[in-house]
């Protein structure tokens, strides 16, 4: 717990990750925060921007091949920010790679996910993968909060080793409303638009 608090403080100072609660307020509801993905710092910045009480019940989803590959990174991901690992290159036959996420939501833990699936060196997010659609369908009670992470792509772009301390902002929007019987592609595009609108 102490490590997480120190980490949150350090990240907030380093990247000035200020949370701008534009469309919603911090609340202990079951939420799926989904954001654009530009750097390894994204997970940390968004998680650290949440107030302490929410941080305790929110699991950031981290790529197993980067964060779970053993050593300091896995220790840091689990003890530092309570990550939930997802296997990006999982073999479908071995079961649904989203199963740990479904389990977490059923337990009442909010999630932070990056629907693009990979980091993108641009200001605006690209097309979303279908994971968020499946999560939203199976958990209709969860609020879908679009988040735009600004400037992090400049602070620590792909391939960089050290972050440049820029003032990054975390903009949280209004929960995405659900539409009965909406097709997957339409949903994904609508979700993506919600993030772009926050930019």
């Amino acid at each position: 717990m102490l490590l997480s608090r120190l980490l949150a403080l350090f990240i907030r100072i380093l990247v000035g990750a200020r949370a701008m609660w534009i469309g919603c307020k911090p609340a202990p509801n079951l939420r799926i925060y989904y954001a654009n993905h530009t750097s390894h710092m994204d997970t940390l910045a968004l998680w650290c921007a949440l107030p302490g009480t929410l941080r305790a019940r929110t699991r950031p989803v981290a790529a197993k091949d980067y964060w779970g590959s053993g050593g300091f990174r896995s220790w840091f991901a689990t003890r530092g920010f309570n990550a939930l690992f997802i296997d990006r290159h999982a073999d479908r036959s071995a079961g649904d790679p989203l199963e740990p996420l479904h389990a977490a939501l059923s337990r009442g833990e909010s999630l932070i996910i990056f629907p693009e699936g990979t980091r993108r060196a641009e200001a605006l997010p690209g097309p979303f993968k279908s994971g968020i659609f499946h999560l939203a369908t199976r958990h209709p009670e969860a609020e879908l909060i679009p988040v735009y992470l600004d400037n992090l792509y400049r602070s620590m772009p792909k391939g960089a080793l050290l972050p440049v301390p820029l003032t990054c902002s975390v903009r949280l929007g209004a929960p995405l409303d659900r539409r009965e019987g909406e097709a997957k592609d339409a949903f994904l595009e609508r979700a993506r638009r919600a993030v772009v609108d926050l930019a």
Binding site: R18, A121, R154, P157, L162, V164, L166
Partner: protein, 314 residues
């Protein structure tokens, strides 16, 4: 009077000033509450609160000694440079030079002060930094808007690191009869510059009519500048006893500080407008960012440093 006594008198005076300001702000707020509140008075009180914090931090640093003041300004430079770079457009190819600025240039520049190495301190950034940064950017291979990007980073580093580092560097000047008291010169500089800013703001709000450069800074007026500037010069002249200057010399130095500070504020306002921002950041409530507070210091510090060194170091 020895250095401790001078410190006590100075900070005692600042404490009284702040108390007065808080009192005035509180009274004004009570009056305004009856009429539904006022944004200007809320801003004024936010500013005064921020001043209490800033003065407390600076006082603590001075009590801890010269190294603490060097570290304080190094951190201030880092925050100011961060605000500057956040607002200027950069590309992937600027990442390496920016990393070097934050992780190498700032620590080295301030370490040179601690090491008492004036000659390298004075040329490290304008010569070696200046020559190194375009090389690092060129090595990334991205030539899109190359000149614009390189010059913006250069300028940012010069203002936020090189110029601001002249403030704690005042301890490098050897003034006979004033040995070991240079920290008082730093307080003198900060007091005159910031008082000038504050008084220009107050005079501007009370008597401001003729704008100086409305396109650049809507709040700078002739009345504000003259009234605020003259009050700051008067205070600076009255503080001659903390410095190695005579009262007349102190008045002259204060005039230089006030002028340079004003021009610094004006120039950086122009840069801000061209970048489309009203404030450099929002770190300090009521004031904006770190650079909003240090813009006057960035011009005043080098001028004050070199005038003092030229005339008072044999």
């Amino acid at each position: 009077m020895n250095i401790q006594q001078k410190f006590l008198w100075l900070f005692g005076g600042i404490f009284v000033l702040l108390l007065l300001a808080s009192l005035v702000g509180w009274l004004l707020q009570r009056r305004a509450r009856g009429r539904g509140g006022s944004a200007t008075i809320d801003n004024l009180n936010a500013r005064v609160r921020a001043w209490w914090v800033m003065v407390a931090v600076i006082a603590a640093c001075f009590l801890l000694g010269r190294v603490a003041s060097i570290v304080l300004f190094a951190i201030a430079s880092a925050f100011a440079l961060r605000e500057f770079v956040t607002l200027t457009p950069t590309r992937r190819g600027d990442h390496l030079p920016l990393v070097v600025c934050f992780y190498v240039l700032i620590p080295v520049q301030y370490w040179l002060i601690d090491d008492d190495w004036y000659n390298l301190f004075a040329i490290f950034l304008p010569v070696y930094g200046f020559l190194l940064l375009p090389v690092l950017t060129a090595l990334s291979g991205d030539t899109e808007q190359f000149l614009e990007r390189v010059t913006k980073v250069q300028w940012g580093v010069m203002i936020t690191v090189y110029c601001i580092s002249y403030a704690p560097a005042l301890q490098l000047i050897n003034i006979p009869g004033y040995v070991g008291q240079n920290l008082l010169l730093l307080i003198y500089l900060l007091l005159v510059v910031q008082l000038s800013d504050v008084m220009q703001y107050v005079f501007g709000k009370l008597f401001g009519r003729h704008r100086i450069a409305p396109n650049v800074s809507p709040s700078k007026t002739v009345e504000g500048f003259v009234g605020g500037g003259l009050s700051a010069i008067a205070v600076g002249a009255a503080l001659w006893w903390v410095t190695p200057f005579s009262p007349l010399q102190s008045a002259g130095m204060s005039t230089a500080i006030v002028l340079a500070g004003f021009l610094g504020g004006l120039s950086l306002s122009a840069v801000k407008r061209s970048l489309g921002a009203k404030d450099w950041g929002s770190m300090i409530e009521g004031h904006g960012g770190m650079l909003d507070r240090l813009d006057s210091v960035s011009f005043a510090a080098p001028v004050f440093f070199h005038l003092t060194r030229y005339f008072f170091e044999p």
